[in-house]
């Protein structure tokens, strides 16, 4: 197996996992929330699912599911006291929660002795030996397929949801919550629901990441991760769930992997986000472009004129 192939598989896995985190930031942006704390739910999901598979030998699917539940519940619980906050205040509150969660994970010690030494979270030293994939002989390629399958499922479900009244209500809430409430939509309920979904998505990404790398530590879940998630959503666009995925492809796929601008990647990525915020604030795939693309895709081909009768 060549190093290039290993790199490609790893990069594709990272892009799929990062897309889940970016989608969680995207969901909150849809309802008018800018969260710099999604990395906390990513980390909580990583730890929760890692603990269940490494310490309690849970199957991967069950461990990931528990991680999703933990992330969703924590995000929902955070949304309750921050319901009345808006704009900058909400963003700072989520940032503070992200740091609280990271510090809490730094203090978490929960180890179990094994033949190869203690396994489990060891505070700031991290959590090693999340070995489910190795013990079950799951290859990196098979795991990539699983990750891509989960991402495709999430994208499909979100895109389907956006076509319903629920999805419309999300966008209305993000555009003008007072008008939305006047239409009879419970803004609070929408935001709580989206917060829980976003937390669950971020936690799913965290669980997948923990099992892919076999090693996690609190330092992984610092604010830069959450800032990037928001940046990917803003860059790719808020018009469709494909937008955050596009943002990840642009940054990780083009700028990082292709090494087009070595040493300047972060500068270019930051510059792109700044330019987009100025000139295209809803991102590349914004609502207008998505609407036009949808019209173009739905356009019926012109009716063929009947064949003229042929002379006998």
């Amino acid at each position: 197996m060549s190093a290039s192939w290993v790199h490609a598989v790893g990069l594709a896995s990272d892009m799929a996992i990062m897309s889940l985190l970016a989608l969680s930031a995207y969901l909150l942006l849809l309802v008018g929330r800018v969260s710099f704390g999604q990395q906390a739910f990513f980390g909580l999901g990583a730890y929760a699912s890692g603990v269940m598979s490494a310490l309690f030998a849970w199957p991967l699917a069950a461990a990931l599911a528990l991680g999703v539940v933990v992330g969703a519940l924590c995000s929902w619980a955070l949304a309750l006291p921050t319901m009345r906050l808006s704009g900058l205040h909400y963003a700072v509150a989520t940032l503070a929660f992200g740091e609280m969660a990271r510090i809490a994970l730094s203090a978490l010690h929960w180890q179990r002795p094994t033949e190869d030494g203690p396994v489990g979270p060891a505070g700031i030293e991290g959590f090693r030996d999340i070995r489910w994939l190795l013990e079950n002989d799951v290859s990196a390629e098979a795991y990539l397929l699983l990750t891509l399958g989960l991402l495709a499922a999430v994208l499909g479900l979100l895109m389907a949801a956006e076509r319903t009244r629920l999805g419309t209500a999300w966008r209305m809430t993000g555009q003008d919550d007072v008008l939305t409430a006047a239409q009879g939509v419970s803004v609070a309920r929408m935001r709580l629901l989206v917060a829980a979904l976003a937390g669950g998505l971020a936690a799913l990404g965290g669980g997948l990441y923990a099992h892919r790398t076999t090693y996690i530590e609190p330092a992984l879940f610092d604010p830069m991760l959450g800032v990037h998630a928001v940046g990917y959503a803003l860059l790719g666009g808020l018009g469709t769930a494909l937008g955050p995925f596009l943002g990840v492809v642009i940054d990780l796929g083009l700028l990082d992997a292709a090494r087009l601008f070595p040493g300047w990647r972060m500068v270019i990525f930051g510059g792109l986000v700044a330019l987009f915020l100025r000139w295209r604030p809803r991102g590349l795939l914004d609502e207008v472009l998505v609407h036009r693309l949808g019209q173009w895709l739905r356009r019926q081909p012109p009716a063929q004129p009947p064949n003229p009768p042929t002379a006998p």
Binding site: A3, H7, G10, A57, R128, A153, T213, A219, T240, D251
Partner: protein, 176 residues
């Protein structure tokens, strides 16, 4: 949702409603095809020694991996892949992995990674062949003046994440 909510035009999303059953089916199928986790297996894990030195611009990180079984015998014929990522920014700054070549000494493999910057790097050792394992070590890659070769030391809490400032008295790598 309140039943008085009016019918509003929904945003188009490429026939996505048709994708939903397929997406849900994919999710379920993939989850079911992965086997259940085995309980803690008897250990056949190798002991992994990792020593790295940095040099040059980039910088370059030259690592030697020493693989031993529990009885101390060298693990020969293994495929060893080295990679690195920055813990401060997971999934970015991911370095292209390099295949480690046997050095000629039993159980010893060597590879050189081209890093993007100084600081704390998590070096991943992916082992396949006679044994399969994956371990990660956090190393602090120091600034190394001129043509010197500086040992990458185990990273500790409080190490500068990006700058890789040298801690006096820090030497060498460590063993698993």
């Amino acid at each position: 949702m309140n039943s008085s909510f009016p019918s509003l035009p929904s945003f188009p999303s490429f026939q996505s409603a048709r994708l939903a059953p397929w997406a849900a089916g994919t999710l379920l199928a993939l989850a079911l095809t992965l086997p259940a986790s085995a309980l803690a297996q008897s250990s056949s894990r190798p002991q992994v020694g990792l020593q790295c030195v940095s040099h040059g611009s980039g910088p370059m990180l030259e690592c030697v991996v020493d693989l031993r079984r529990r009885d101390g015998s060298a693990v020969e014929g293994a495929q060893v892949m080295l990679g690195a990522l920055m813990p401060s920014m997971p999934m970015a700054h991911t370095i292209k992995p390099m295949k480690a070549a046997p050095t000629g000494k039993p159980g010893e493999y060597r590879a050189t990674l081209e890093l993007e910057m100084l600081g704390v790097w998590s070096v991943e050792v992916d082992i396949s062949g006679p044994l399969r394992d994956k371990v990660a070590r956090n190393l602090l890659v120091h600034e190394c003046p001129g043509s010197e070769r500086c040992a990458a030391t185990p990273a500790k809490a409080g190490d500068d994440v990006h700058m890789g400032r040298h801690r006096p008295g820090a030497h060498g790598g460590h063993k698993h």
